[in-house]
Amino acid sequence: MRVGKGGTPKLEPSDPDDESERRFIERLRARDERAFLELVQLYQGRVYKLVFRMVGRRDEAEDLAQEVFVQVFKAVGNFRGDSRLGTWVYTIAINLCKNRLKYLGRRKTESQADFEPLKERLNAEEVQGFTSGDVERPDQMAEGREVERIVRLCLAEMDPDFREVLVLRDLEDLSYEELSEITGLPDGTVKSRLHRARAMLKSAVERKLGGKS
């Protein structure tokens, strides 16, 4: 994150030693309410999306995303600035998501299927891969939707530790270094866990698709 002249944060990556970011963090540490408001406005979209992709329920995601910022407000006094502010916020978000998922034991239910149906989503034309976005005929469209549903179901059933690396790498496009900071795992472990998560997802989807045909 970079902070502009007026202390307004921008989204592009920056050097953690950036003077303006350091000033912004100081304002946060001093419990400057306006600075915190700026932080919420800057990150709320990304945090909500991340949380939604992790927990899969809109109501749960909104509640949890708000809780993320409350925790950020509480803990910002302890933020040493070793990592970028955005990475730190993501770390808190991911940890809260994993705790909530474990607490609710939601993985074993199908309630994660609250993921929005395709027609309600934005930028549906950007959907990639073997999905309904690629097909034109109604039967192919239905098939694409079914595959999406199965993928979502398999992701919902996946262990949060594996799900987090998939979400952070494949959806949030974070680097391995950032993944390593957020998860607290060595680079190599992140890579192997990501590889394993993809392989597990592929097997699970194939198993479910095989069972259907």
Partner: protein, 109 residues
């Protein structure tokens, strides 16, 4: 290097397979809904948990500063002061000229 504590994947994936799974994930979860505005909820929680220490005034919880509220309040107060002045000014009358007292000779001549 892979962590020795991590168990081996159930099956090997070639780079193309990995890319395909990545596209599957993006297709299924790639586009989320429009994020709601969290500012009000976050500030309400902080206000409650800090027992009113932070975000205590209701105005700071609004997304934009309520400039109109400040302006209208100021104009109303000015108008009220002018009205009070207008009412009380005629009652004040004009000041009566006070002559300075003559010196009094208290000592016998």
């Amino acid at each position: 290097m892979a962590d020795p504590e991590e168990p081996a994947p159930p099956s090997r994936l070639d780079p193309q397979g990995e890319e395909r799974v990545k596209e599957l994930v993006r297709g299924a979860l790639g586009s989320a809904s429009v994020p709601p505005d969290l500012t009000q909820g976050v500030q309400r929680r902080i206000r409650t948990r800090s027992r009113g220490k932070f975000y205590a005034d209701g105005w700071s919880t609004s997304k934009h500063p309520p400039v109109n509220t400040y302006l209208v309040t100021s104009v109303m107060m000015l108008a009220l002061l002018c009205a009070i002045y207008g009412l009380l000014h005629p009652l004040s009358g004009s000041p009566v000229e006070v002559k300075p007292p003559q010196p009094v000779n208290v000592l016998p001549e």
